[in-house]
Amino acid sequence: MLADRKLGGLLYGLKLALGAAIGYEIFVYLGPAYELAGSVIISAIIVSGLLNLLTMFSYCELAGIVPKEGGEYTYARTAFGDIVGFTTGCIRWLSSVIGGALAAGTFTLIFLELALPSFYQFGVQLPTEIVYPLIAVAIIWSLGRSSIRGSKRLGLLILGSVLIFFAIYALSGFWYLQREPTAPPQVLPTFSGMPRFLLAIAFVLQLFIGMRATVARVPQMKDPEKNAPRTFILATLVLLIVYCAVVYVGVTVVPPNGFFLKAAADKIFPLVNGIPMAGVIIAVIGMIVCLSGISSALMVQSSILSGMSRDGFLPKIVSSTSQSGTHRLAIIISSLSMVMFSVVPTMAAYLAVAAVLLNIMVFMIVNLSVISLRIKKPHRYRPFKAPFYPFSPISGIVVSLGLFASVLWIKETSFIDIPIFGGLMGMVFLSYYLRKIGLNRLKVATGGITLGFGGFTILLSYLIHASSEWPFGTLVPRPFTVFALAFAGVLSIIAGILNVNTRMRKNWLSHPSPSRKHLSHLTIVTGILICLLSPLSLLISSELLSIVILGIVGPSNLIFGVLLLEK
């Protein structure tokens, strides 16, 4: 058992927590948060650090009770059952996919900003709309490959170099401020600025949130009851000091802008210690932490997918391991998903807000899981208990709700995110429902749908052939349309029959189940849809043929559905 092998104490935990927390989020969220809230971003950092700490205690308690692969998915499933667990797993997986895509996008943007001027000097014009997705895909692909091979990450080296650089940055900044005195920035929020302050908290919370990746290791730590809270308190303190110092320098020296840390570095470093390329150093560090972020995202996603596969929500093959002990297929699926989100640069703003919303939702579910398990399983052994229970999880839930509301209320992009988010949630519930129905029953249902669709398509083809009018002109050639529709219709009918007429159907009919009813409903709905589609015939042909469609194809699909229901 992994849980029996103790890996290390406080220092080990601290290294893990800081390594997981410091990532691409600094370069994605700090700038917009500064633009939104101004210098009160410093207070926002302190509040979000404390909120994160409270939720980390909840995470630790859950990791102690359920020391299994899958993270938040496993916790929520243990606390609330299959449907909430599956939904949480999908939300967490999606937030990780978006996070990885953002990291790839940020890496590419920084790289292009650094590299493009050099290309221009040599007279080479690079089309960014082509280069951007190519670089993003190449980065994800190469990191996905190295993850499959199980190569060791340079976590400690990255962490050390980033912390040393930020220490130099902050010290140089304070020295600069002594030489060039500036009025101290306003750090406390005003009442009128409260909504923007809340939004800034939601954004800068992402700077701490990566710490949760450490939680899975808590049961393996020496003396977890003492070392886990100390680890998270110390890590939060270190991060608070580093972030507050660096951001204080940045907001004092430069006005709000998207990449203010780099702008401040360009101003401070040449004057204080003669480093002319400080902005370049920041950019390089940004690229390194982005690479680390993609790697971590791949690990998180493969853990969730294999956990869901273990519990039967995904095919067993997803949790199969390669020779190096990594989940090869899970990593490939995750890499492809990240590629899908990362190839369009204009999506970055929406993705950033979507990731914030998803992460806040996961925080709420984790806190709710702690309360639920304390009530349902009060006597279960807990290697670590969240302090100040029930105030810590309840305050975590309340603050998360406030942050969620503030993001939806203020951020304009959330108006686009809401329908996308709703659609994604719909897909999650649909896939859960379909999974529960079972593959064999689904085959029969889609077979019925395809059969009806095939009949309808052939009739449509005949109608177009026989009609005297053709509203599409030369845009869509009529003979081609007739042939294509007839071909698709025949194909659909054959596929429909093959799907319905299988041995599996017989098995299904001999083992009736309540969900068969829902399946048959699906086929009936298709019949209704065909009936609704039939007005198309009114546009292109005589009334008689439209009656044929209305009278034969749609109702026959309906009858097919009803027959399935009755058998």
Binding site: I449, T450, L475, L498
Partner: protein
């Protein structure tokens, strides 16, 4: 591999490919500015019809994939 499996595999592959192609073509028709003019000519009926056809293509593609899965599963 039995002839029925080969048949299922071929039909499934062609079915999925045709459905995906159909969905893409209908999608392009929806996005094309010239098609937009046609949409006005045909009034508001054109858009829901094309959207419904895309949904049908989706089901059809799934049906094809199920056939492929069925053929491979038996092997």
């Amino acid at each position: 591999m039995r002839p029925k499996q080969v048949f299922m595999l071929i039909i499934g592959a062609v079915q999925s490919a045709v459905s995906i192609l159909g969905a893409i073509l209908i999608g392009l028709l929806l996005l094309d500015p010239f098609a937009l003019q046609i949409r006005f000519i045909l009034d508001s009926l054109f858009l829901p019809i094309l959207c419904s056809l895309i949904i049908f293509c989706f089901f059809s593609a799934i049906s094809g994939l199920f056939l492929i899965h069925g053929a491979i599963d038996v092997l």
